[in-house]
């Protein structure tokens, strides 16, 4: 049974229609990657699922419950945490405060706490009292992931976490994902870096111009198929 699914999800970004009837599912314990070029609608999909924007039509269902109309704080309280695009740390808060605020709306006990997040990303413990925005891009991304984990979410939505980071840093960050999975979270990763995403994903969806153009497991879909789904058939 799907933990989180969308059915016929349609959404607008201002006047611009960004999603045209998108269906995706995420099963419990699964990691799903959503790949696609810039402007394919991946981030709009994430924003719809997290309650940041209202969907125009279709459904978002979490644990069999329709959550499409809920605002972001309510969605978060149910156990869907988001690592937003651009990391979005709070500049007025220190690293530790940025982590602590992650459990403001959902202080559920579980595997993740300040201590276990510091164990996952030891460098953050050293910088715990620095302003969040004084850190390097990679460290800021670690704070953003840790902040989302602090609420012990059932679903972790990661939006473009490798954007603007050096490959070696991206590898470090993705190294944390097996541990995050092992503690029970189901994960949706939106990525332009297909290589990293496919390494950690059980299944993938490829999006183009607001529609899902391909889905399957990393083993079952070929490079050419992804290429076609990513850029459109005419360029393949």
């Amino acid at each position: 049974m799907a933990l989180l699914e969308t059915q016929g999800l349609t959404a607008f970004y201002g006047d611009f229609q960004a999603l045209f009837g998108v269906d995706i599912t995420l099963d419990a314990g699964e990691t799903v990657a959503i790949i696609g070029a810039n402007g394919a609608g991946k981030s709009t999909l994430m924003r719809s699922m997290s309650g940041m924007i209202a969907n125009a039509a279709g459904q978002v269902r979490f644990e069999e419950r329709e959550i499409g109309a809920l605002p972001a704080p309510d969605v978060m309280a149910l156990g869907i945490a988001m690592v937003p695009e651009g990391r979005k740390l709070f500049p007025s808060l220190s690293v530790e405060e940025n982590l602590l605020i992650g459990r403001y709306g959902r202080a559920t006990a579980g595997a993740w706490s300040l201590q276990t997040v510091y164990d996952l990303f030891p460098v953050l413990k050293e910088r715990r009292n620095s302003p969040g925005t004084a850190l390097s891009g990679g460290q800021q991304q670690m704070v953003a992931i840790g902040r989302a984990l602090m609420s012990n979410p059932k679903v972790l939505l990661c939006d473009e976490i490798s954007l603007g980071l050096a490959p070696v840093i991206i590898r470090d960050i993705y190294a944390a994902f097996p541990k995050i999975r092992a503690e029970g979270a189901s994960i949706v990763i939106v990525e332009q870096d297909i290589g990293q995403a496919l390494k950690v994903a059980d299944r993938l969806y490829c999006m183009m111009e607001g529609r899902v153009t391909l889905s399957g497991t990393p083993a079952s879909v070929g490079r050419d198929e992804i290429h076609a789904a990513y850029f459109g058939a005419h360029t393949a």
């Binding site: 970004y13 201002g14 006047d15 611009f16």
Partner: protein, 373 residues
């Protein structure tokens, strides 16, 4: 036919320029122009058939309208929300009173002095308040008004804190009063009321005409650009503060003229009355908000509604102000474009069209501003 507002008329599609014409007029506004001329003629002729008390009411309406147009220009177009316009009303009035009572000047010259003095005052004032933004600008203007009030209350020659009366007979020295009295065979006091009224009418028309001309001009476009997006306006070479400063200066001048005229007619001045935040700012804000902020028509509608409410409920004192405050809040929350905004939304009619309208051209083409457009 759809009416699209065009943000940058000159830079749009030169190929289509032959087919498109940019206009700010529409048919309703042409009819309205005739209507305005008729009202104006009736307004000029009003003293011939209206009683003194009606003329005094009209004087009140016209001077409040002038103040409202000035405040609207500041808040509705330049984004300068002032709650300290009483500084310029009071200062204009005091300089007028000093010119008449101490300097022995002709009252009409004294009114001009009042306006000029208010404009001069606005220069150092701007130096302070333009360092503040948004709400802080608002309270900053209020502080300035308080400072000017407290300073003028020290002016013993004009009665200090208790104020003074203008010399009796000032009204009769107004140029034309004697002439009017002779022509129409009325007593000098009534002739003075007629002249005050005409001056107020002239001032109100000048204020409306000035606002209309400004908003239709290139500077007006710049003002709209600044209001809509200060950053973008800066990027295309418009200096927001320069335009804002110019508007602030002009509004101070006209507000000062109005203040001087109002106190010439009242013939008695005191710091508390001339710098009253209720009389010269709160009422003015309600007039503009109720009528519709950011339009020339709004203050006109607003002043009429305000006058009716005042006549019906002014006897109830604080209840009246309480209801006026609630009305203002309700309009701001539920109909922020005021009564005139509600009316235009339903009918599309504009009396003073200042929005650019694109007319003609191929009907199949639509101007669209998508995220990538």
């Amino acid at each position: 036919m759809t009416h699209e507002t065009l943000s940058s008329s000159s830079s749009q599609a030169p190929a289509a320029a032959s087919a498109w014409t940019v206009t700010t007029r529409n048919r309703a506004s042409s009819v309205a122009a005739l209507l305005i001329v008729a009202v104006l003629l009736a307004g000029i002729a009003a003293p011939l058939f209206a009683s003194r008390s009606v003329l005094q009411d009209l004087f009140f309406i016209l001077t409040m309208l002038t103040l409202a147009q000035c405040w609207n220009l500041l808040a509705g177009y330049a984004g300068l929300v002032s709650v300290g316009q009483q500084a310029f009303v009071g200062f204009g009035a005091y300089v007028m009173a000093a010119s008449v009572a101490l300097g022995g000047f002709d009252p009409v010259v004294a009114i001009l002095f009042g306006g000029l003095a208010a404009m001069l005052l606005s220069v150092p004032t701007a130096l302070f308040v333009f360092r503040l933004h948004g709400a802080y600008f608002a309270i900053g203007t209020w502080v300035i008004a308080e400072v000017v009030r407290l300073l003028l209350a020290q002016w013993k020659a004009l009665g200090g804190g208790t104020g003074t009366s203008l010399p009796t007979g000032v009204a009769r020295e107004l140029p034309g009063v004697r002439l009017v009295a002779d022509w129409f065979g009325v007593r000098p006091a009534q002739a003075a009321d007629m002249v005050y009224y005409w001056l107020a009418l002239l001032l109100a028309c000048a204020a409306i005409g000035f606002a209309y001309r400004l908003l239709r001009s290139k500077q007006g476009l710049g003002l709209a650009a600044v209001r809509d997006n200060g950053q973008a306006a800066r990027a295309v070479g418009i200096d927001p503060n320069r335009i804002r400063f110019a508007v602030y200066l002009a509004a101070a001048f006209v507000t000062g003229l109005a203040g001087a005229l109002i106190y010439l007619q009242k013939a008695r001045i005191s710091p508390d009355a001339a710098f009253s935040v209720t009389d010269w700012t709160a009422y003015v804000i309600f007039i503009v908000v109720i009528g519709g902020i950011g339009t020339i028509e709004g203050p006109i509608i607003g002043v009429v509604v305000f006058f009716i409410l005042r006549n019906l409920f002014a006897d109830y004192g604080s209840w009246y102000l309480l209801v006026l405050g609630l009305l203002g809040i309700a309009i701001m929350l539920f109909a922020p474009r005021g009564l005139w905004g509600l009316f235009t939304e339903r009918t599309g009619i504009q009396l003073f069209p200042v929005r650019r309208i694109l007319a003609g051209g191929p009907l199949t083409k639509t101007i669209k501003g998508g995220p990538h457009g």
